[in-house]
Amino acid sequence: MLRKSHTEKGKLVKRNLFIPVLAVLLAGVFPGCSKSPVGKEMKIGLITPLSGDVKTFGESVKNAFEIAIEEANAKGGVAGMKIATFIVDDRNDPTEASNAANLLINQHGVKAIVGSVTSKATIPVSDLAQSSRIPTITGTATNPKVTVADGKRKDFMFRACYTDSFQGTVMAKFSRDELKAATAAILYDVSNDYSKGIAEVFRDSFARMGGEVVAYESYGKDDVDFSALLTKVKAAKADVLFLPDYYNKVGLIAKQAKEKELKAKLVGPDGWDSPELVKVAGDAIEGGYFSNHYSPEDTRPEVVNWVKKYREKFGQTPDALGTLVYDATNMLLEAIQEAGSDDPVKIRDALASLKGFEGVTGKFTMDENGDPIKSAVIIQIRDGKQKFLQVVNP
C-alpha cells in the first residue's frame, strides 16, 4: 500500500518516543527501589489500595504501618536488623494485588508481607504468599477463604481481625437476647464481600436463634438512594435493621432511615467504627449498636498511646482499619523478634504460635487457621459518642 510522508513522520515520532520511554521504565525496575540503610535488613512489604475506590482506607492502613515500623526502627530494628519497607499499591483490584505481591516477593525479595485491605485483594495475595512460602498477615480482610480455602489451610497466611462468621453471630445473638428482636431486616452491599459475608451469617444465625428475617435486600457499591429499600423495610415492620457495611454507607442509610421515620433499631459490625460515623449520620445513628474490637473509652495504655501517636503524626483520629493494621504489623514484628532472623519459615512458626499478644484492639491468640481468638465488645452510640456496653467472648 502506498502511504506517504505525513503518516510516516508521525509514526516515526511516536515510535521514537515510545521505545526510550519504555526503556526508562524497565531500567527503573531492575535496580529495584527501596528506602533503606545498608547492613543486614529485614525486608517487609505492604500491599494497600493507595488509589481507587477505597483509597481512604488504604491510606490509613499505610499510615498505621509506617508508625509501627518507625517505632520498631527507633528501638534499633527487630532481631538485630533494621527494617526496610516496600509499599505497593493494589488499587483494590485482585489482578493488581497479585502483581503487587509478585513484585514484592520476586523483585524486591521481601521476607514478610502485611496486606491487603479487602478480601478480594487479599485472597490472591494469600495464594501467592502460600506458594512462595512468605508469611503474610492481613489486618482487615474478613473472608474465611483468605486463610482456609477449598478445605486447605494456607499456613503462611494470618489475620488480625475477626472473620465474618464471628461478628454476624455476635450481633444476631445480641439482637435476639438483648434487644429482644423478633424480626430483623438486613441491607447489604452485594458487591462487597465483607458486607455480603456478614449479612449471610447474621441471617442464618438470627433464624437459627428463632428470629424471623423479614427483609434481606442488597444494594450496589455506588448506590446512594435507599428510599425504595427503606420504604420496603418500614412496611415489613422489622424490629432491628442490620447494616453490615462501612461507616460511610451506614451513615447515609441511617440518615435516610430517619427521614423515612423508620422505627427499627440499627445494628452493625466493626465497619461502623470510625470517628466519621457520627459526622456523616448525625443524630440518625443515635442509639445504634455495633460490635467492635475495643472501646475508645478503654483506658488501656496501648489504646491511649496509639490514638495520641496517630493524632500527632496525621492530625486525625485513627479508624478501625488502621488500628487493626497497626496490631497486625506489630504481631509480625514480634514474630520476627521471636524467630531471631528473617527466615520466612521461622517467622511463620512464630506467628502461628502467638499467644496473648497485647494489641490495641485486644488480646490475641492465633488459632490453627491463622485467625485470632479474641473477644469483641458491643458499643452503643449515645450522645454522639461510643459507649461501651458489654464484652462478648468467643
Binding site: S51, K55, S218, Y219, D223, V224, D225, S227, A228, V280
Partner: protein
Amino acid sequence: MDYFVQQVINGLQLGFVYALIALGYTMVYGIVRLINFAHGDVFMIGAFIGLYTIERFQWPLAAVFVSAVVGCTVLAVLIEQLAYRPLRHAPKIASLITAIGVSLFLEYFTSLRQVFGPHYYSFPRPFPVVSWHWYGILVTNIQAVIFLVTILCLLLLQFIVFRTKMGRAMRAVSFDYVTAGLMGVNVNMVISFTFGLGAALAGVGGVLYGIAYPQVNTFMGFMPGLKAFTAAVLGGIGNIPGAVLGALIMGQSETMVSAYLSSTYRDGIAFVILILVLLWKPTGIFGTSRTEKV
C-alpha cells in the same frame, strides 16, 4: 396502596435528579454527536462546590446554586475548548477516548489529598428536614425542593431552546452544522454555549443530589452519569423531552424493582428495559430516525 404511592414518589425523586444530568448528555450529543463521558464528573464538581460553599462559606442556598452553575459551566467550556474542539474533525472515536481520559483525570486528580481528597465527605444540610404526612404518605421538604427546582430548570431550558435566538441557533447547529455556519451562525460559540448549558444543569443536579443523599466523594459521578446517559438514549438521544422521560422511566423502574422484586436486580433491570426499548424503537422513544443519504 400507600406503599405503592410512597414508592412512586421515591421513584420520582430519583428520576428528577437523573433528568438534570441526562439533559446535559442529550444536548451535547445532539449538537456534536459526542458521548461526553466527563459529564458525570462535572456533576460531581457541582456537588463539591455545593459542599464548600455551604460548609465553609455558609452562603444562602440561592448563592450556592449560582456558584455551582458558574463553576460547572466554566469547567465544561474549558474542557470543550482544550480537549474536544481540537478533535472535532478527527475520527469520532478519538473524541470519545479523550472524553474518557478527561473523566478519569477529573476523578483521580480531585481524589488527590492536595485537591479534594479521597474520603467520603458529609454534605451539610442547608435547611432542616421537614416532613408532611398525607393520608399515610410521607413527603419531605427535600423531595419538594428537588421537584420544584428541577421543574424550574426544565421550564427555563424550554424557554432558552425554543424562545431565544441562541436556542434557535442550537437547534440549527444540531440539525446541520455546515449549513448553519453558512447562514451566519457562530458554530463554535453555539457549541460552547451548549456545553455550558448542560453543565449548568449538572451543577444544579450536583447540589440537589448532595442535599438528598448527603455524601460526596470524587467517584460519585460515574454511576449516576452512566444511568443518566442511558436515560437519554432511552428517550431518544438528542431529544430534550425524551431525556426527561427516559430519566423518569429509569428512576421508576429502579425503584419499582427494589420495591416489588429484589433489589439485587435493580441495575440490571434498567438496562434490560433499555435493550427492549431499543429493539422496538432503535433510536429511542422520541428519537428521530436519521435518514442516511447515499
